[in-house]
Subunit: 279 residues, 2 copies
Amino acid sequence: MKIGIVGLGLIGGSLGLDLRDRGLKVLGVSRQSQTCQKAVERGVVDEASQDLALLKESEIIFICTPIGLILPVLQDLIPLINPETVITDVGSVKAPIVDQCSPLWPNFVGGHPMAGTAEQGIDAAQRDLFVGRSYVLTSTDHTPLVALRKVEEIARSLGAIIEICPPEIHDQAVAWISHLPVMISASLIDACMSERETIVLQWAQKFASSGFRDTSRVGGGNPELGMMMAQYNKTAVLRSLMQYRQSLDQFINYIEQDNWETLEQLLKSTQQVRNQFLD
Amino acid sequence: MKIGIVGLGLIGGSLGLDLRDRGLKVLGVSRQSQTCQKAVERGVVDEASQDLALLKESEIIFICTPIGLILPVLQDLIPLINPETVITDVGSVKAPIVDQCSPLWPNFVGGHPMAGTAEQGIDAAQRDLFVGRSYVLTSTDHTPLVALRKVEEIARSLGAIIEICPPEIHDQAVAWISHLPVMISASLIDACMSERETIVLQWAQKFASSGFRDTSRVGGGNPELGMMMAQYNKTAVLRSLMQYRQSLDQFINYIEQDNWETLEQLLKSTQQVRNQFLD
């Protein structure tokens, strides 16, 4: 079976390494000739090209580009491939992608392997990146079951945990646990930098340790990815941000009003509730 | 030299282990007889008692209780000890402690070893907890230099990096990098739980991974400690929270207005600026 991959970064590259390990023939397309060369050298793909025509006989194609390029890549692929080809993507937002791609290509299955790292690009590609991680596949009334099963089988072979979920629910859920954290974490860094007393800022920089490190981590991540999360998942991200601001105001109010007992109760409940997310 | 420690939890207990390793005689006081017993068994102290009178011949006394008990413990110690005894504390807020304790005991030196872990209590006490961590000592116009040097010498012997800083500056700096993160992280957990669509909440709980884990970590920490940070450092914490809300509103505005270019610029600057805190 021939598998096509468009976009040979962290996710596309790691996918290539694993699929070749499982004996599949992997064909890769990148816009950059240097990436194509590296992909072949590192054994990420069997063949690489800057031309999508390389993928014309692939049974399944993974589009692993940044979110904004998924639709244009699909449009460019359509004249080249046969209608049985299953196309899937790995974007971290699903509803707008599925809404745009499914009408153009019935055998489209939205996907989101939840396997990011701090690194980007083909140099960050690694074997077994997906082992034990959630790999979300979206299902709508129009998703052909046979196409869903094909992507599911491959994702399962990577060692991932398959989760099948409607695109809109996926987007609202990841707004809470992935996109909202980026915005509030970046706001922390931005707020710290607004300190006008130089001496306070200098000591803050000196004192910063694990608490600041962890809370600010995702706010110091890939800016393009953060921006695209907000852009493509705007409604759900704003919905979470508005609710977050209410929670924040509640903390501020308790502190302003010296309502320490209620503040401690609230912190007890957040301590307990966190375990429901991370068990 | 005899060293006294009041409060045999994570910090007091770890301090005892290290100081005994360095050949000092360590006397410990805890309110609970069980903790006294454990402290002797585990070699945290040479002798332990529930009675502060045990410490009457100590050259230096470390008060390692929760913040709210530092002043009462000092008041109880005063009739028992001689005026040369140096007293220091390990509370994470300094100005209110120093303001209250220094007039009562001229040989008082405020201290804050920045060496927390997720664990609490004597069972969490460990050797070398302070190695390579900042140990802040506060200095005011009234702090006797000889007292400051005595505490400094001991803190340095633990392998800590000594930082000397006015109490108010310390409090504003830790509001940014320690206390504010607790409030915004706890607000994240609280906001997630406000999700009324059960199916979205369930998927969010299932999808939560490293981004949520890191951003929510300090918000799921010790509720009593979080409450006391806000209570004792109220002015600085509110000041940071107000500025944080402005930063957050800026992110919300850019998203509402589809101002993606500016949002990406802002995320680029937070990515860069974070390195100034964590080098």
